[in-house]
Symmetry: D2
Subunit: 137 residues, 4 copies
């Protein structure tokens, strides 16, 4: 299994009148987490897209357990629990506050797409190189 984590401070802009982070904003937290974790692995998403491969989201799931609040320093854990195969990759997320309380869990299924053809393509070799070692027994 691959696991990493990123910290994100809740912005005022992200709260709603309930005083909580608006439920649609977790998607952006997950996105930032993916990008930063990829960067640590030596994968630059921006360059990947510039080179013609994009990675749109096929499916999003989110469970809201406790509210995140303004100025909370969130820890977002990202997991890849299964070696990616075919053209898809599943990321799972857990969001914690500073008191290590679990606030939110989620997952996104991404698909690698060739931007020229608009068609799914196999998980790129450089992704396998970075991630596969975490799955070898």
């Amino acid at each position: 299994m691959f696991e990493s984590e990123v910290q994100i401070r809740v912005r005022y802009a992200e709260t709603d009148q309930m005083g909580y982070v608006y439920y649609g904003n977790y998607a952006a937290y997950y996105e930032v987490t993916r990008t930063e974790v990829f960067r640590r692995l030596g994968i630059n998403y921006k360059e990947m897209e510039a080179a013609g491969t994009m990675m749109p989201v096929l499916e999003l799931k989110c469970k809201y357990i406790r509210p995140a609040k303004y100025d909370d320093m969130l820890t977002i854990k990202l997991f890849v629990k299964h070696k990616p195969k075919g053209s898809r990759i599943l990321f799972e997320y857990e969001v914690y506050n500073e008191e290590k309380m679990l606030l939110n869990v989620g997952e996104t299924t991404m698909v690698f797409v060739d931007m020229k053809t608009g068609r799914p393509k196999a998980v790129p070799e450089f992704i396998h190189e970075k991630l596969d070692p975490y799955f070898t027994a």
Copy 2:
């Protein structure tokens, strides 16, 4: 089954550099749809919250089938397929573009919460009055 629909025009602000609606923005489309459909049923969410009952989201699911694009006039269908019971209600959504192509499906599970105690409470009687007729055989 209860069914209704709402139209929402895609804003420039909601697109991302792929040229598509950012995947996190569908949550707001679902929210607008819920509010407008409630209004038609004679339920004002703002007043309900002012009267001490809020309806936070417990769970969100989203499947992205085709991209929505800037200036698309989306039709968002909302379904309540099961008579609400206990303290929860499940809304299902289908998002279509002007060519009646299905772009996105989703669901949100909401819970009624007493804002004084912060605890779940039964689906309010005035919600039952409005929705239950759609489920009587």
Copy 3:
């Protein structure tokens, strides 16, 4: 002078924990207003961009007079007070609530840009055709 107006309902997503519309969200209200008013004039911004002319914002000003709140039906008045010349156009906005109270005033200076060269270009002829009649004595 050219004047038109658009109505926008405040979304829950747009509020913040003060219970007001977050100050950064008026920019999107102005954008929606521009797009809708252009549409009424027979100018489709999406098609204009597809045809190679974009209209980025050079300058934004916003004064916050009274807060807009969740579910408010805002009326946003758009004014073009001076006949556009050169490559720029100035839009002015006034935001009112249902009680006709003035909540916000703003302005955006836009520039027409040739997307191939990335350089400013003169206000297109079809814009002049639509707007100039409002300025003839």
Copy 4:
């Protein structure tokens, strides 16, 4: 003069279909900058609000010089050029990319408000204590 700076990485969510940061998103960058700079000064905005003083924005100005792009690591400089007096404080901002190119300049005028009365109040003493030393000759 008081001066400080904060770094913010551009999120995918913040881009639009032009491939640039959407013009309304700078307001949130300014907000994050204010909060982080205040924190360094020993002023916690969240606690200030919890203690009954809020600081809404009266006026926003933004000039867009060059576009910020996805994944850019922005440096946002914040300046307080004049010793705050009365109930207001003026923040000025400059946004730079990694190549030290100036992308955006802006300013926000904030007012201190007593949340019980909803009325403006003098700049709090603890703000003066932190900021005034930067203005003594």
